[in-house]
């Protein structure tokens, strides 16, 4: 099936990471349930909200890098990860 649908390793790694993040966050939620709180974002958010905002902005960060510069995407990835961590901690 993998060969038939032309799955590439990159995409598999990408989705594996997403699934891993979701699994870790689910387990974390079961171990220590979170409540809504207000950080530097203008709205009250749960941990899941902040993760979603982080992932969505990561997509936009990558696209912006592609659109306006020729800098390697590893830079975009680094920025995204740092931004995601900041969001999760203080957002």
């Amino acid at each position: 099936m993998v060969a038939w649908m032309n799955w590439t390793p990159t995409v598999m790694v990408f989705f594996a990471v997403i699934v891993a993040i979701l699994t870790v966050m689910t387990v974390y939620e079961l171990v220590a349930p979170c409540t809504e709180r207000k950080g530097f974002l203008p709205i009250e958010t749960t941990r899941g909200d902040r993760l979603f905002i982080g992932l969505l902005s990561a997509a936009y960060i990558h696209l912006t890098f592609l659109a306006v510069s020729d800098i390697t995407l590893w830079a975009a990835l680094t920025i995204s990860v740092i931004w995601l961590l900041i969001l999760l901690r203080w957002g």
Partner: protein, 288 residues
């Protein structure tokens, strides 16, 4: 605090999850997969990384159609929301007249998209169409197949005709939900009509209006059939909106990788805007 919650019911969601995975998640993953490859045919796929994304993002044709799309959706909202509120305010409150109005207003909503396109294509023609002919007879030079502005106005007018009723119906139901006591209090205070609208009706319409804006934005952002039938995207590419550009790329040119990259960007835009609206709605509910 020591309540033990039983989460086993979540297993019942499993069939739905599997179905959604089969019909939505895996196809979406496939699109992601195609967006990083150049595919010529079965067994002839080449990995190209983010090249398609780069190409799509820097393509002037796509940028133009994205700007057109936002302009169109903006115009649709700017016209249809106030107009819909106005229509709803003017509709009779109850009785036979009210029912009759509801039916009349709802008729455009029942017509299929491609039929709406065909109706307007004939209606707006200068030679045999009533609308086009009448405008031309009034001395105005109107030709939606040749003039960019005319084409735009015709597509906009068609969308206003087709979808303003939805906004009007939503607002009408919102207005009917306001208790009579509010109006009586306003009458005692001798509030003007404008004050009643500004301080009673509009605030009470807030939640239906958010839904109306969301629905109208999404629909107009993904508009395809009506302009395709009416103008075919022309003259030139002046009314070629995003979905038509995408279809041309994916089906016309069979450029799967490019089209996949483009769909993902399209999807991200829709996702961001829906999320913003969703947050606005839930936030507004919380404040109550």
């Amino acid at each position: 605090m020591n309540k033990i919650s039983d989460n086993r019911a979540w297993w019942l969601v499993l069939p739905v999850f599997l179905l959604v995975a089969f019909s939505a998640l895996i196809p979406l993953m496939t699109v992601v997969n195609y967006s990083v490859q150049d595919i010529f045919g079965p067994g002839q796929a080449y990995y190209v990384g983010t090249e398609w994304f780069k190409e799509v993002l820097t393509d002037q044709r796509l940028r133009d159609s994205l700007i057109r799309q936002f302009a169109f959706s903006g115009a649709v909202l700017a016209i249809q929301i106030p107009l819909g509120i106005g229509v709803a305010l003017m509709m009779p409150k109850s009785g036979v007249k009210g029912s009759l109005c509801l039916i009349l207003v709802a008729i455009p909503l029942l017509i299929p998209w491609n039929v709406v396109g065909t109706i307007w294509q004939i209606f707006a023609r200068g030679d045999i169409g009533l609308f086009g002919w009448a405008i031309n007879q009034m001395g105005m030079d109107y030709n939606y197949t040749g003039d960019t502005l005319d084409a735009w106005l015709t597509v906009l007018l068609m969308d206003v005709w087709h979808w303003t009723p939805l906004v009007a119906l939503l607002c009408y139901s919102g207005l009917r939900a306001i208790p009579e006591a509010f109006y009586q209090a306003a009458e005692i205070d001798r509030a003007s009509k404008w004050a009643v609208f500004r301080y009673i009706q509009l605030p009470r319409l807030k939640s239906v209006l958010i839904i109306a804006v969301l629905l109208r934005f999404m629909d107009s952002f993904m508009i395809y059939i009506e302009p395709f039938v009416l103008t075919g995207g022309g003259p030139g590419s002046s009314t070629t909106f995003l979905s038509q550009t995408l279809t041309t790329m994916a089906i016309g040119q069979f450029d799967l990788g490019r089209a996949a990259a483009f769909s993902l960007i399209y999807f991200l835009i829709v996702l961001l805007i829906s999320w913003l609206f969703f947050t606005a709605i839930t936030h507004a509910d919380k404040e109550k």
